[in-house]
């Protein structure tokens, strides 16, 4: 009786430990130091959009990655989850690596939310390729490339 039960029990234990492994993913620093501080948050980024306007809901309605030199560039970031304190940052860079602008928005979302970042240049944008990268609590969560013609 025991010998017939044992293999099934072993499989159950292996499956259970596998599931635990998924729940306890390593949240240490990428460099392996294991010293990264992961804030008590369960916020995640669910959508990033670029465009030349946002609505009252802070969301880019019409996506584009081509802009003119006089346009304001908007990026909307959709987040899901709840946190008493989360920081969302956008780093805009030019093709040569120059940082064009960097902005941080501190939020305490209690459900789905949109955060918009925008940049404008009264002198007109230099034409070329740009990139905007987003960080949630200091960790990269996505980026978008765009071009100004």
């Amino acid at each position: 009786m025991m010998t017939r039960f044992w293999p099934a029990a072993a499989v159950a234990i292996v499956l259970a430990s596998g599931a635990c492994g998924n729940d306890t993913r390593d949240t240490g620093a990428a460099d392996g130091t294991g010293t990264a501080t992961v804030p008590a948050t369960n916020v995640s980024v669910s959508e990033i959009r670029l465009g030349n306007a946002v609505g009252g809901d802070k969301r880019v309605a019409e996506e584009t990655d081509d802009f003119r030199t006089t346009e304001t560039i908007y990026a909307s970031v959709a987040t899901a989850g709840i946190s008493p304190n989360a920081t969302l940052s956008a780093r805009w860079t030019f093709q040569d690596g120059q940082v064009v602008s960097e902005d941080t928005q501190t939020i305490a979302p209690n459900g789905p939310a949109y955060t918009e970042f925008h940049i404008s240049n009264p002198s007109g944008w230099p034409t070329g390729d740009y990139k905007v990268e987003f960080f949630l609590n200091g960790q990269s969560v996505g980026s978008k490339d765009f071009e100004i013609k």
């Binding site: 802070k58 902005d103 305490a108 955060t115």
Partner: protein, 97 residues
């Protein structure tokens, strides 16, 4: 190397793009975090009565007469001689360090 650079156009310094006038901003539909509640400084005052000394006050306030210098330092503007305090003087009693 300089000749090759000249021939092939290498190492010519392009003027860096100027982003000094860039304006930026952000906003969110998510509420802002609540700031930590203001913690009022835990300073108290004490009005000196006849027969008081700094060590007596320290004993009463901190449970340790040896901490009189804490009160003395916090009241330098009112006390020039720690052995001479006067009834009616209002002393600041800082938190015990």
């Amino acid at each position: 190397m300089g000749l090759l650079d000249n021939l092939f156009g290498g190492k010519k310094d392009k003027p860096r793009a100027d982003f000094s006038n860039v304006q930026s901003g952000s906003s969110s539909t998510a509420p802002a975090p609540k700031s930590a509640p203001y913690a009022a400084p835990s300073k108290r005052t004490y009005t000196v009565v006849a027969g008081d000394s700094l060590s007596k006050i320290a004993k009463r306030e901190y449970g340790d007469a040896q901490k009189w210098p804490v009160i003395f330092e916090a009241n330098r503007d009112k006390i020039s001689n720690p052995d001479r305090i006067h009834p009616g003087q209002v002393l600041t009693i800082p938190p015990a360090s």
